[in-house]
């Protein structure tokens, strides 16, 4: 099923053309796949992280509003939003 016979072959990715010249493209292939993985994983994790930030900010806002409501005797201060 796998094209390569050993792990070393898989890493080196050498290919001998019909005219006998050997081309080893491991460095190109692995760097391209490595960069692709980094880009895809970063793009997928960024919104997850932002989600936590948005939820926290909304909870903070709600707590501030609740605190302001319980202190009805003091004049209401203007609330600056922090997100």
């Amino acid at each position: 099923m796998f094209y390569f016979e050993s792990v070393a072959d898989f890493i080196a990715m050498c290919y001998v053309k019909k005219d006998g010249t050997e081309m080893c493209h491991g460095a190109y292939v692995w760097s391209a796949y490595g960069i692709a993985l980094v880009v895809l994983i970063t793009a997928a994790l960024a919104p997850l992280q932002r989600n936590r930030g948005v939820r926290k900010a909304i909870l903070r806002q709600m707590r501030r509003e609740a605190a302001a409501q319980s202190q009805t005797q003091t004049p209401e201060k203007s609330q600056a939003e922090d997100f």
Partner: protein, 247 residues
């Protein structure tokens, strides 16, 4: 009379938030599975090319990311048009959220193409028509992203960047046809929908799997980003507050 209720419902942020949550439950595992299958197949199972050797494996990430970067631009511009014409809130959200994903995929296509260019053409970069128009696409994405933030009024920013996205679509057919119109370095498409493709079927399988995987990836990240935008913009509503407190 056509029934347009689905269209109006699609414009409701709450409806989209609930639906997309359900879609993601099967879309995420499916996309991960398809992407891993495609990556392993392209890296370790597919045979090398007789002329290019193993560098042809870069094809399995380069072409899908390039195709998606073009498709994402169309989607972004169409969403912008829907937002401009029907003033649909969710359309501008979709437009805003697809821009950074499109920019990331364009950058990936440019980088992997550059790495592939070295063993194939002997150079990392050439001011070839396809490469240059692809670089312009990257800057267009950045422009759409920057323009949204350039206005203090969010709605004005969304409108301006929608117009830029629509004007920018003129670049998409240019990229697509660049290799046919200008006979420079980049080869024309090997996959054709209308004629026989000039590629071996053993290479075609992992390619199509990767295309499906990249489309899935785009949809997943787009939904995740849109859901964040919705939470933020609807933060004063009851349903968002109940949702945030409930966890």
């Amino acid at each position: 009379m056509a029934n347009w209720t689905w269209f109006h419902r699609l414009g409701s942020p709450k409806w989209f938030y609930e639906k997309s949550g359900r879609w993601l439950r099967w879309l995420v595992p499916l996309t991960v599975l398809v992407l891993i299958t495609g990556l392993v197949w392209g890296l370790a199972i597919a045979p090398p090319d007789a002329k290019q050797g193993h560098s042809v494996r870069i094809f399995y990430i380069h072409v899908p990311s390039a195709m998606l970067s073009l498709a994402a631009f169309y989607l972004m511009a169409s969403a912008g048009a829907v937002g401009l014409i029907w003033r649909m809130k969710l359309a501008f959200v979709a437009m805003k959220c697809s821009a950074p994903i499109g920019a990331a995929l364009t950058a990936l296509a440019l980088i992997t193409g550059s790495i592939w260019g070295k063993p194939t053409w002997g150079t990392y970069w050439e001011w070839d028509a396809k490469l240059t128009s692809m670089l312009i696409l990257f800057f267009l994405y950045l422009g759409v992203m920057a323009l949204q933030e350039a206005y203090s009024d969010k709605q004005a920013g969304a409108k301006a960047s929608a117009v830029l996205a629509l004007v920018g679509t003129v670049n998409i057919p240019i990229i697509y046809k660049a290799a046919d119109w200008w006979n420079t370095l980049h080869q024309p498409a090997t996959f054709k929908f209308t004629e026989e493709s000039s590629i071996d079927p053993s290479l075609a399988w992992p390619f199509w799997i990767m295309i499906v995987g990249f489309y899935g990836f785009f949809a997943v990240v787009l939904f995740l980003r849109m859901r964040n935008e919705i939470l933020y913009s609807e933060r004063r509503t009851q349903w968002v507050r109940a949702l945030v407190k409930g966890e």
